[in-house]
Symmetry: C2
Subunit: 192 residues, 2 copies
């Protein structure tokens, strides 16, 4: 009986990362105050500093570690694996769908590129996005597209995902996002 909310359950700090992830993607670095974080995690401020000695910056860093891990498992390994390119891209889109809760949740990296967060995490985000684009471009080359075209389409893939998230949330209409990622594999692999 391990999952129930026991009062004295000792939680390693990884267990709080999903909650932090949800908070930072919603409020951003400046907007996610320690009070909000304390309320959301159920931990006192001081306890937060026990798990994350570096404070708020440390928390975001942990969330970004988790994001790097997500990208590795759900995109990089997947795209480099077995199956037809179309199938692999399809699976990537399924994982993207889950990550953004069907278009109802914003993107962490996008929101961290604003305000104070940008100064602190821009380089990490740049690296993450670069790897993502590179992995898509690679599978497109593998399936026969020209190198330059593949690189452009890798960029276009991220553009579509990020743009669809923003517009979907501006319009309160997730169907926009769903349509975009659904047709993404065909769009990327289309000839000429």
């Amino acid at each position: 009986m391990s999952t129930a909310k026991s009062k004295n359950a000792e939680m390693p700090k990884e267990d709080y990362v999903p909650t932090l992830f949800s908070l930072f993607r919603q409020y951003g670095y400046d907007g996610a105050t320690l009070s909000k974080i304390s309320a959301a995690t159920g931990l006192g401020k001081a306890s937060l500093y026990h798990h994350f000695p570096g404070g708020k910056e440390d928390m975001v860093a942990s969330v970004l570690d988790h994001s790097d891990c997500w990208l590795q498992e759900n995109v990089l390994q997947l795209l480099a694996g077995k199956g037809s390119p179309h199938t692999r891209l399809q699976k990537m889109c399924d994982h993207i769908h889950d990550l953004y809760a069907g278009g109802t949740q914003p993107c962490l990296t996008a929101i961290l590129e604003t305000g104070t967060g940008r100064d602190l995490f821009h380089q990490r985000i740049k690296t993450l996005v670069t790897h993502w684009i590179g992995a898509i471009a690679k599978i497109l080359v593998e399936s026969g597209l020209d190198e330059a075209i593949a690189r452009q389409r890798g960029q276009d893939a991220l553009i579509s995902i990020q743009g669809a998230l923003i517009v979907s949330q501006a319009l309160d209409d997730a169907s926009l996002f769903l349509r975009t990622i659904k047709q993404l594999p065909e769009t990327l692999l289309h000839w000429e």
Copy 2:
């Protein structure tokens, strides 16, 4: 007297809107503190409250008024005007290029959809984006596309613009944004 010479020339509050616009698009609602606003405008806090009695929320509202005006002049009137659809879309893209400084500046509406700003301005932003999409869809219908397809492509246009802005800034590479808006008219008008 002419416009130039008075040392303490009275500045109507509209003159500060561009500075506020630049600040809010860069830092967001939570990140743009009154201290930053005071420093950027050269006005003391009291003077800011003289021009904007409603405080920070009032300032953002004025910036959004300005944005509504921009959309009206640079998109809605333009797309409803004379010239071939392609030419009009081209001109719209030129204005978009200027608005976002060639892809080097973030989007105000996107950043206001985060943190505290979302609760305050979501409805206004939703209306603005809806009008933008509608205007693009209308000109596409006018040039012969099916109504449903035109509506989708109007959404796709905003998705591409917003996405390109985000990815360009994540990668420190404005060429991505430039390429996207350059090929936007052809993409929107393409047959089939």
